[in-house]
């Protein structure tokens, strides 16, 4: 039947259009999928990884990027890096330039940090950040793991519903942090302040290569060596895990509660199904006879 054929044709046409490469020139290669401890329905953060990631964030990223949605106290809350409250208080106190006030004489003053304080930003505002970074704005990194993504395309994005893939942001960030390469020969010459990155859309990024092997010293294990390699790849993964935690600090609680809710609803739905069958098996007399 011609109508049926046209239906099939329409579906096929749509599928073809969907599968055709979208703006191939602009989008870089797809970031490789990393294995994350927090992915999947039972995902949990790796505390040691979050602590290492925090060290990288604090020693490297924080010199240009703000993470002020995080307060020191968050570092000791359940589902986080697992610092103790006293460690957090000590850490907060190392920041001696927290703005407060006014005092009795009406003046603003600086005091040591408290656990309730936000992580201090490196620049007072966007303009100051731009001025100090050659006109480019280093975005806050506290939400970046949720604010960055890449196109999954059809039909992958539908499968993602079932596989629960949602680490688009973290995968992209790891790829970006490790994606600094020399530009290909046919690439136009870089201007000052431009850097080439494989995964940045358009390949031009203002941030210079931020991580280098051995740059951050990781805590030593009992054998006197760090249990994980001190390499760019490891730093990138660790700091990205920490960024994911910053963006979604209640991820563990969400997935845990989610499993309980799903289990409950599935059982309840089953019970309702049989109750419904029972009830409908006995229709009112007049409706069940001819």
């Amino acid at each position: 039947m011609s109508l049926r054929l046209s239906l099939v044709g329409l579906a096929a046409g749509l599928a073809f259009a969907a599968a055709s490469p979208v703006l191939a020139a602009e989008a870089g290669p797809k970031p490789p999928a990393q294995s994350w401890s927090f992915s999947g329905p039972f995902g949990k953060f790796d505390q040691a990884q979050l602590q290492r990631g925090f060290k990288v964030a604090k020693e490297v990223c924080a010199s240009c990027h703000a993470m002020s949605l995080i307060r020191f106290r968050n570092l000791s809350q359940p589902g986080g890096p697992g610092f103790t409250p006293s460690q957090v208080a000590a850490l907060a106190a190392t920041y001696t330039n927290i703005k407060d006030g006014p005092n009795e004489s009406g003046e603003m003053f600086e005091r040591p940090g408290r656990p309730a304080d936000a992580f201090p930003a490196p620049f007072p505002n966007e303009q100051a950040a731009r001025a100090a970074n050659g006109g480019a704005y280093p975005p806050p990194i506290d939400m970046l793991a949720k604010a960055r993504t890449y196109t999954r395309g059809f039909p992958t994005f539908i499968f993602d519903i079932f596989t629960q893939y949602q680490e688009n942001g973290p995968d992209y960030i790891v790829a970006l942090l490790t994606g600094y390469k020399d530009p290909p020969k046919d690439f136009p010459p870089l201007l000052p302040g431009q850097n080439y990155n494989t995964y940045m859309p358009g390949h031009l990024i203002a941030m210079p290569k931020p991580l280098n092997d051995g740059q951050v010293e990781y805590p030593k294990g009992p054998d006197g060596k760090s249990p994980v390699p001190e390499t760019v790849e490891q730093y990138a993964k660790d700091v990205t895990a920490f960024m994911m935690w910053m963006a979604e600090p209640h991820l563990e609680a969400r997935k845990r509660l989610g499993f309980q809710v799903m289990l409950f609803l599935a059982l309840f739905a089953g019970l309702l199904y049989f109750t419904k069958k029972k009830i409908w098996s006995r229709l009112p007399e007049h409706a069940s006879t001819h």
Binding site: R71, R73, Q77, R114, P115, A116, F264, L265, L267, F268, L271, L272, F274, T275, K278, R282, E285
Partner: protein, 183 residues
Amino acid sequence: MAHATDTTGTEPTRRDFLLLTTGAFGAVGAAAVVVPLISQLAPDAQTVAAGAPIDLDLAPIAEGQAIKLFWRGKLIFVRNRTKKEIDEALAVNIATLRDPQTDQQRTKPGHERYLVVYGSCTHLGCVPLGSAPGEPKGEFDGWFCPCHGSHYDSSGRIRKGPAPLNLPVPPYAFTADTKIKIG
């Protein structure tokens, strides 16, 4: 419904059991939903964190003077009492008080000259007068609440008027001779 009752004899019980279980599940589910809806009303993490203990230096408070400060959004009076005020507070026969408390119970040993109380009348929550110079201190050299006329003595105890209780003492401790930590 004749044909329904003459089926197997166990059926009604099974049906009842099923209905009961399903109903119980529904009730549990509904109760569970209420938990987040109610607990969101409690103070959030930021409010709790902002309510951490605070340090206060008492040295700037001259004898006979009082200061006001806030902790957890609540007003607190800190008064450096005069000898006369302390003597008055000690001299009271506590059996005559509406809310019997000795002055020792309301101050820290060795630091009796400092009185730290919440600045909120126990009647209906107005701020009693008497902390700033020139304000009426009531009939008992303490505080006077202008809303409904409650008089507190120099130990912050209710002596006259509608308020039922003494001005409560917040949790605090001396960390040095003239330094306290409230909370």
